[in-house]
Symmetry: C2
């Protein structure tokens, strides 16, 4: 791999060619002419430029369409590195990928997002540099870094705005800070759930779907929205903040200050709290024992395990949570009529009991037409949704297309 | 005006040129080169073709940029007619426009949408033909007809699917039926609220906005959704069916079979019913008198007039309705983070009391970031939103662009 000056500017047909090959895999010149509605001469010029820049490489002849088998062109994985970072409330997940998006290295560790941005981002930069060094690469070969953060992001500037979980990060210039360490890298910052939706749309079951919702259920609840195959961020970058949709005007007070938000009533901490209540009230032997073993601490995972073991009270807690989440989703289905809803995030590990109660609630309260083709499934990317999405977000922003 | 063979097929740059001039008004060749990123030669060829087809016309020199003032090109209004039809639950609104979208003739009359489609569409075709004749035109000069209907539409085919208000229309081939009368016309059918949103985006305050919601409040409640300047119909054409979002699991049973839909609790008939209750219970002298004068019938308009006259009970009814509608909108704002919400439909005539309670409810229950730039206003198109949108929907579909 060689160092390039960043960000590299491509013409619009060059950018479209790279995007088309990324989307569908190796293509011939004839394929590109057809897909991009370009002339033979334009495609020849574009392909030659991209080959000479080492962005594309020849990958041998494809299937013959009658005459000589055509030469196929693929993304050159060795063109440079991209990194994906998923900053969670209690952990950091990182991955280094080659230029095709193939993951070369992974790393995760506990972290506290309430820490100040400088030391945390400094540490993230060190971790990326370490992964690059392990591949015998140099920092200036990192061409793009995608970062997902658990809060609202003003996407163009890459800054957090009024982030409830990480107040000291507000307006911190993440892009400029990280670029000090990786001078050739375009740094892109987005909300963690948007990043997961991009991962699903680029490298998951959502690939090729026109519109879907990715719902993350963890400590909080949030949605990533795909419209016409692209992420939809809303007017202020605040789209998808569904955890603060009110489901009960008389419900408990949320950390946002309002009463009865979905998040405070149905996310991980609510499941854990109800589990503890039941344990203390003597409603579940399983949970009471677990509470004792854990020295008075009970997590959503404990409730999930109790439910899997057949505990009646734990199952009721999981079902209630699914009903509340599904009730909210039913409203979104009536409004947005998506093709698919992916469920991800830590709490989705609770399993099919949760999924089935979400599905039931959606079917009960959405219009018949809008659920005719709707599928609601767990994201197959699982815990990788964040870093996968961050890598694909980065790959989308390697080049400036002008 | 002359007859043309329909539908006329344009090349992609020709179609984009027409769309650009429609959007921004008269443009010079230099403007088109810049806006459409086309070469000088391409623009010259496209403009010559469109002039020879009579789709564009020269409109005299624009402002000089230093040298000779450039020739400007505009849409040729005399190229042909387009018609817009807004089929409501209890009325038909029609308008005939020239090719610039300028309305030449208007007509409206009471109608019952529960009637069978053949006689109603036959009558609509007669009304359009009558308007064309009044302009000394011929039916084969009508180039496109846009029709809004109060029910879910499968847009590509232009058929209604499971329409609750007009069951006999399900799968009726509206396009083919109307085309028998107007052989040169492309006929386009869409849901009435989508059509209103298109009107707002094309010829209203919504022009140039990236994303907004148009909420119609009348006998029912529905939303039209604009994403990136274009109507969003959802996977099954069912997007925007927000009248059946549940706002109270213990609420009254809606005609859809579910309990506590927004529509059954907050739309026109609910306002009228609550007004009648109050009148019979002696809670409002104004409404009691109006009920007697109307021989036992009370409408949402009566409640609106009572509220305007300062009647306390009527004001409470209006505020309650606004609160319920605003509560639902707050959820959509958290999810969709729109730039603007337009309120239209018959019940919006109730006035600013309704608007202000909707605004309060949205501000109370949406996240701070998503309401930072949000505006909620009555649609300035008023009762014309439907026909205006139908005309612009038609204008978008005059040509086949290949």
């Amino acid at each position: 791999m060689r160092a390039i000056r960043a960000p590299l500017t491509l013409s619009s047909p060059e950018g479209e060619t790279v995007a088309a090959i990324r989307r569908t895999g190796p293509l011939s010149r004839a394929d590109l002419e057809q897909q991009l509605e370009l002339s033979r001469a334009s495609v020849a010029a574009v392909v030659n430029t991209l080959l000479s820049l080492n962005i594309l490489r020849e990958v041998g002849p494809g299937e013959s369409q009658g005459g000589r088998p055509p030469q196929l062109y693929a993304i050159n994985g060795a063109f440079g590195y991209v990194a994906g970072v998923d900053v969670g409330a209690t952990s950091i997940d990182l991955a280094l990928a080659d230029f095709t998006g193939r993951i070369l290295e992974r790393h995760d560790e506990p972290a506290d997002v309430r820490d100040d941005p400088e030391p945390m981002l400094e540490h993230i930069a060190d971790l990326i540099a370490g992964m690059v060094a392990k591949q015998n690469g140099r920092p200036d070969q990192v061409l793009a870094i995608g970062i997902g953060v658990p809060g609202p992001v003003k996407f163009a500037e890459g800054v957090l705005i009024a982030p409830p979980l990480m107040p000291t990060w507000e307006f911190f210039p993440i892009k400029a800070f990280i670029r000090q360490h990786f001078p050739a890298a375009n740094v892109v910052v987005d909300n963690d759930v948007n990043v997961m939706a991009i991962g699903e749309a680029s490298a998951g079951t959502g690939k090729g779907l026109d519109n879907f919702i990715f719902l993350k259920i963890g400590t909080g609840i949030g949605a990533g929205i795909i419209v016409n195959g692209h992420i939809y961020r809303g007017h202020d970058g605040a789209a998808g903040d569904v955890g603060h949709i009110c489901i009960d005007y008389n419900g408990p007070i949320c950390h946002c200050g309002n009463a009865g938000c979905l998040e405070i009533m149905a996310a991980g901490p609510a499941i854990a709290a109800r589990g503890k209540e039941v344990a203390l009230a003597g409603g579940s032997d399983f949970l009471r024992k677990r509470l004792e073993d854990n020295k008075g601490v009970l997590t959503a995972r404990d409730v999930a395990e109790a439910a899997k073991a057949g505990d009646r009270a734990a199952n009721e807690i999981v079902r209630d949570s699914g009903r509340m989440i599904g009730g909210m989703l039913a409203s979104l289905v009536n409004f947005f009529n998506p093709q698919m809803i992916f469920i991800g995030g830590g709490v989705s590990n609770i399993g099919y009991r949760l999924l089935s109660s979400i599905r039931q609630a959606v079917l009960r309260r959405s219009t018949a037409l809008s659920t005719r083709h709707l599928r609601i499934e767990f994201s197959q990317l699982g815990a990788d949704a964040g870093v996968t999405g961050a890598i694909w977000l980065a790959l989308e922003h390697v080049f400036v297309v002008a």
